[in-house]
Symmetry: C2
Subunit: 455 residues, 2 copies
């Protein structure tokens, strides 16, 4: 059964949108999407998911089937939901471009649109930005840990569905990965595809050597041979013998062995010795198997002669931080800044801008503030009246943005273990406005008479 994207939403977005329409509350509303706090062991986040969120916004159309679905789950007559029929997204979006570093409290995206539209898209937009931003940050940490050595994505078999696998490959490339095992993603996104053989391949042949020779027959040119199906050291010797016989057009042109289990550092040292001893200095070593940025950093700092790191599961699900504590908060309605006061979830009112200073010394302020000297505004207008304002960024552009931001990040934030994320400052004007709105919201216990942002 095909479901249109309009129903990929929480029911409450629909019930609220209906009520807004009934009450004539279609004035402009601004919602701000941000991570409330940094996950443990994260010194930075990496903005990601914007492109797929914008695809949803520009394609959104509540059709008759959607209205029928809404009516059905609400046990209402379709005519009761008729005001939603034909709804599209006609608003503006300001957002941090994909690949840029973001911090807790900084808006990743702000939507300004007629209230029912801005509300209805909440679930989908959060869904896209949340996990992609989390996985992109994980990927960037893997690249940092590898310290210049190539990192590749092997995550597809363990991501939360195939869509998540595609997005993991994409944000991995954004983070600077050298390739992905995911054929669909590699094809669609122009990422190099990597991978060669599994243990099952070796086991399917009478001997390991038979397997290696057969693989080379099927795939002329450089090959990667998996050496740890039986005895790893013996596997390396066998691989060396086969590679030597294949000649320098194979073994000096990008061939490799892969280690996927055991003490990867010790096995890599032994393998390097055996390969060099066999006159195969051009054969590189790839390591895989439960790797993440912590394991990669340990291997790198121990001097393990591993040339390429393949990260899978733990990268693809961002295993130690599989979600962000993100929010999509109403910050202004019809020019009135609003905020929530309930315990532990206080949010600052009004549309915002992030001014990035040197070394990610950021200031969160109001949209109409002048940037502090030397600072640049992070959020850009990416959609106006429901249409993209510019072309999609390429993955290369995203990668370059991230590389530049990482270079400027303080070393403590780049650390793999115990990183310290920079704390964005809050501008004087935003602080003042927050205090005034808070005071009035508290004083009126929900009956807020509102200062304007420029008050």
């Amino acid at each position: 059964m095909h479901m249109s994207d309009a129903t990929t939403t929480d029911l409450y977005e629909v019930t609220m949108a209906m009520s807004y329409l009934q009450e004539g509350m279609t004035g402009p509303a601004t919602f701000s999407l941000f991570a409330r706090r940094m996950p443990a062991e994260r010194g930075f986040l990496v903005a990601a998911g914007l492109e797929s969120a914008l695809d949803h916004l520009s394609g959104l159309l509540v059709g008759p089937d959607d209205v029928e679905a809404f009516a059905s789950v609400l046990h209402r007559a379709p005519r009761d939901l008729a005001p939603l029929l034909g709804l599209t997204f006609t608003g503006d979006v300001r957002a941090v471009p994909e690949g840029r570093i973001v911090l807790a409290g900084e808006p990743l995206l702000e939507v300004t649109a007629p209230l029912p539209e801005a509300q209805l898209v909440e679930t989908y937009v959060l869904n896209q930005l949340n996990h992609q931003t989390a996985v992109a940050a994980k990927g960037a940490r893997c690249v940092l840990a590898a310290d210049g050595r190539p990192v590749v994505d092997f995550s597809l078999r363990r991501t939360h569905g195939t869509q998540a696998g595609f997005q993991a490959a994409r944000v991995g490339a954004m983070a600077g990965f050298a390739g992905t095992s995911n054929v669909a993603a590699a094809t669609a996104l122009g990422i190099p595809a990597v991978g060669t053989m599994a243990h099952s391949y070796v086991e399917a042949f009478p001997t390991e050597e038979d397997a290696f020779r057969a693989f080379a027959r099927a795939h002329p040119g450089p090959v990667t041979l998996l050496v740890d199906t039986y005895d790893t050291e013996e596997g390396v010797r066998t691989a060396a013998r086969v590679l030597r016989e294949l000649g320098p057009a194979v073994h000096a042109a990008g061939s490799a062995i892969r280690l996927d289990s055991g003490d990867l550092g010790a096995l890599a040292r032994r393998a390097r010795f055996l390969l060099d001893d066999a006159g195969l200095p051009g054969v590189s070593i790839t390591a895989s198997g439960g790797l993440d940025e912590y394991a990669v950093e340990e291997l790198v700092s121990s001097g393990a002669p591993i040339d390429t790191y393949a990260v899978g599961t733990r990268f693809g699900v961002s295993a130690d931080a599989p979600y962000l504590d993100s929010a999509y908060k109403l910050v202004e309605y019809e020019g009135r800044p609003v905020m929530k006061l309930s315990s532990a979830k206080v949010t600052a009112p009004a549309p915002k801008q992030v001014f990035r200073g040197l070394g990610c010394a950021d200031v969160i302020g109001l949209t109409d503030e002048r940037p502090p000297a030397g600072a640049e505004p992070l959020l850009e207008t990416v959609m106006r009246d429901g249409r993209r304002t510019g072309p999609r960024a390429t993955l290369g552009e995203c990668r370059d943005r991230l590389a530049a931001d990482l270079d400027a990040l303080p070393p403590a934030a780049r650390r793999i273990r115990g990183p310290v994320a920079p704390h964005p400052a809050v501008s004087e004007r935003l602080r003042d406005l927050t205090a005034r709105v808070r005071h009035r919201t508290e004083a009126h216990a929900g009956a807020v008479s509102s200062p304007s942002p420029s008050e």
Copy 2:
């Protein structure tokens, strides 16, 4: 760009399949999919993801576009990949039905097919079973923790993409959830849809009371009012006033208040007192906000008067165990049982069956063994010659299977904190075969002469 499902795979499946075809290695191969070990804090897993895996298998067809994609990422001419053109899945699948409890080491699924086909589907099948089984177990634990109170799914905004959100709603229903906020999933799967209003809704109105009244106008009948936007106690009083005015057709017919922040136990007690005091004993209390089975268990055991628990993020991403250490291992090729020996990843050879005894006292044995007295075989033939052997199980059937299995599970495995998973035993015949295959594999260092399973 539309990509057919055939390219949603790791590159190495393609390179191996190509080599098998070239070598004429198209004999029957059996692969076994299982979780190597239990995640921490899990006393059981719940088989899930089979239906979407079978959909992939029955729909698989390598078309000309797929061959072109394979050729492109391999930098080969499409004609080199021509042997893959037209490949479909023509094999058999035996699997544990969705909803049944499974343990570490027990095959969730076994595929027997011509080697290239059985290999090519590895990535997709792992991808589907892995996360759905993990999330289903998390959901079942939430239901156990709620001890009879309804649990509902609010996870869509934080799952890893919308496809994962759909699957979370589905496996939640399988686990016994009473509803989901996900409209698409509710519509497609016939699950009750739940949810009413966000804090933004309350903030968009001049006062909280205005918001509650407007909501009731738009949605005649029982309503759920979110009371913690400003001052929670005041919010409860306001909700009580509005609900009382709406009359018993609303407040005695399934209306509720929702608490989403703060000390949920204390606030629920206070809210219950205020509601009862206002003559509204029929108005129930829903709690949400960062809940998982640990938090739910604490609230339940503290006697908090919460009637419905909404679990979101931590359920939907299985936050404390976002993946399983699963494997898809070749266990037999052309009647020859095979196994991998490399450190820490030894796997038992040959196609297997799981015999479930009383209280999940399971025995893993060979497919042709007679079940121990009183035990039932878990794996059933679900696909023969590439076709499903029976109708899809309904969600209700899956739910019933799980409920029955949970009832039979030892209390220590059902525990929320510090659960102890039962350890499946290994049959004498499987143990003997494993020892023999291991001995010969080691002795021949990869040149295995093979015992047959019935030896």
